[in-house]
Amino acid sequence: MNIEQISVRVSAVEQVAPTIREFTLRPLSGELPPFSSGSHVVVEMPGAQKIHRNAYSLMSDPWDTSEYRIAVRLQEDSRGGSRFMHQSVAVGDRLNITPPANMFAPQWEAKKHILIAGGVGITPFLSYLPELMRRDADFELHYLYRGSQTGAYRKELAAELGARYFAYDSDAAERCELTELFQQRPLGTHFYICGPLSLIEGMTGLAAEFGIPASAIHYEEFAAPQPGKPFEIEIRHSGQVIRVGEEESMLEALEAAQINVPNLCRGGVCGQCVCSVESGEVDHRDNFLSAEEKASGRVVMPCVSRAKSERLIVDIQE
């Protein structure tokens, strides 16, 4: 009944946009767990220097337990994960993934669903669509992309969704008027945004101006851990000191030192990895902790956050 990790084999690799590759993952034995729309898995990638772990949205039909599909955008400033997926993973390779977890589920009592995808942010919505259609829900999909880089699946989406599909290719100077998205929507409309931080901030800021309650706005941004100055972590009860390099996250440094911290999203969203801070100044970079919690300086999310001081003393109970 308890699932730790799932071993899968890559059964197909496809270039679906200039910078995006799709991977089909099949179980080594039996079936995969079913999942809910908006779920992600963390893929473990055995790189030469270190093990990379990135979260990717599942974009297959949640009821299909024979395979999962994920899409990976090659990040220009990749810390190694997306490059590994693009350059080193081929059909037949084995990978380990976590069971699905969901931080971005549809609100099923909504009257209408407006989905807004930016680039590779289309991926979680691909698992929404089969379920929205099964439930005969009222929805629209707005897809913003750069035709020279992203925009995967747009032909299929246009064909499948018809009048419910709206596409904006910024390379063709097609603009999405965000204000129009919020106008004259029936009460009970929920908005879902997945894409770059600039899109999420733009949308949430505008929604606030329109008086749309925060409870009707949902977004997901898997912030990849950003590099920063090296620093040290001291584990309070053991005195062990671990160095966090420029390019690695605090969580990765802890894992490399065999200290396992519970985690789910590895992108500052889920709050599973939160650790107590005894001393030192935290550079908060997550989307989970409240402003008060951040100001207290007593907690840190090591998946994305770093230290402003040279050393953080943290309390991790193993």
């Binding site: 308890n2 699932i3 767990p33």
Partner: protein
């Protein structure tokens, strides 16, 4: 493990319910320390305690199975609203059917069997003489709504919590043996709302921390905790709806009958993420044990005396023990002479 005593025992009227020596041995005694302290006390729901332990299987089925199913049927006959599921919880109900049928068939193959061919399923429950074929996720293919169908075959109460806005909502459940709470009253409430009446814990931030923890439970990693209270007589259904039948029994406890009349009521609560709907399944498996049976274990008798003696007044009131708490402490004191 032995399931189903020959005669169905009662949890009302003549109260014939009893625990065998085996059932006493496997009772999930809830007090890890001598004094009572609030804690979230969660742990992974992994097997522990070996063969026959209440923690051995995902769902615990024991000698009271038939009696509890009979009691559940009696409650639902009088009060059908003790089982409800809002429309958006339909998929969550099927998640629960899948989870429960698969684990029962794996863990108790002598009693339950499940055959699946695509979405065509056959379910056999030999204890209740059930043999049904249905289409998975098609609620019209079952003889009754999916949550009620499954709930009538499981010991303990089940709630399905919808997760949205980083909160949990009590949007479905089959609750026929609650410790003084009502599904009809709590339905649709958020986590903080339905915990409103709990004293002391709010100021300590316990609910905020618990909610953050619960909303992050992933698929395949169920967690459990124990909760407890005391009940007069072996009554399973201590709901507000039936308060007029049991509330006055609190005045019937005397130094002479306290050992046989007062029951320690333990809830083994399990929270499990449902994969298809992202709902949390919250199961509350209730065990009842008379003080007389508890004190057959000297360690439990001593421990329980110390816990009862140090129980803070707000909790004595909240748990409804005010009228007979001192009688319980006096009774248990004889098994703990050093304290």
């Amino acid at each position: 493990m032995r399931v189903a005593p020959k005669e169905i025992q009662t949890f009302r009227n003549d109260f014939t319910y009893s625990n065998s020596p085996d059932a006493i041995k496997r009772f999930p005694f809830p007090f890890p320390e001598d004094d009572y302290r609030y804690s979230v006390n969660m742990e992974p729901h992994l097997p522990k305690g070996g063969e026959g332990s209440a923690y051995e299987k995902f769902l615990d089925i024991d000698e009271h199975y038939l009696s509890e199913m009979e009691e559940r049927a009696l409650v639902l006959k009088d009060m059908p609203h003790r089982c409800l599921a809002m429309e958006h919880m339909d998929l969550a109900c099927w998640d629960m059917i899948e989870r429960c049928m698969v684990s029962l068939a794996e863990d108790y193959p002598e009693h339950f069997s499940l055959t699946r061919e695509g979405d065509q399923w056959r379910w056999q429950n030999h204890l209740l003489d059930i043999d049904d074929q249905f289409t998975f996720a098609d609620s019209s293919s079952l003889p009754m709504p999916p949550l009620e169908y499954m709930g009538r075959q499981l010991q303990g109460d089940f709630a399905l919590l919808d997760q949205r806005d980083g909160d949990l909502f009590l949007d479905a459940g089959i609750i026929t043996c609650p410790a003084d709470w009502s599904l009809a009253f709590d339905a649709g409430m958020s986590f903080t709302e339905w915990h409103g009446p709990v004293p002391m814990a709010h100021s300590e931030g316990i609910f905020e921390r618990a909610l953050k923890y619960l909303t992050a439970i992933p698929v395949g990693k169920p967690v459990r905790r124990l909760n407890w209270t005391l009940t007069v007589n072996a009554r399973m259904d201590t709901s507000p709806e039936t308060y007029h039948e049991w509330g006055h029994e609190r005045t019937s406890v005397t130094p002479e009958n306290v050992g046989s009349k007062v029951y320690l009521r333990v809830e083994l609560q399990v929270l499990d993420r449902m994969p298809r709907s992202n709902a949390l399944m919250f199961s509350i498996r209730t065990y009842l044990m008379s003080l007389e049976d508890i004190v057959t274990n000297p360690e439990w008798a001593k421990r329980m005396h110390r816990v009862m003696k140090t129980l803070p007044a707000p909790l004595i009131d909240y748990k409804g023990l005010t009228r007979y708490h001192s009688t319980v402490v006096d009774y248990l004191a004889q098994f703990d002479p050093a304290n």
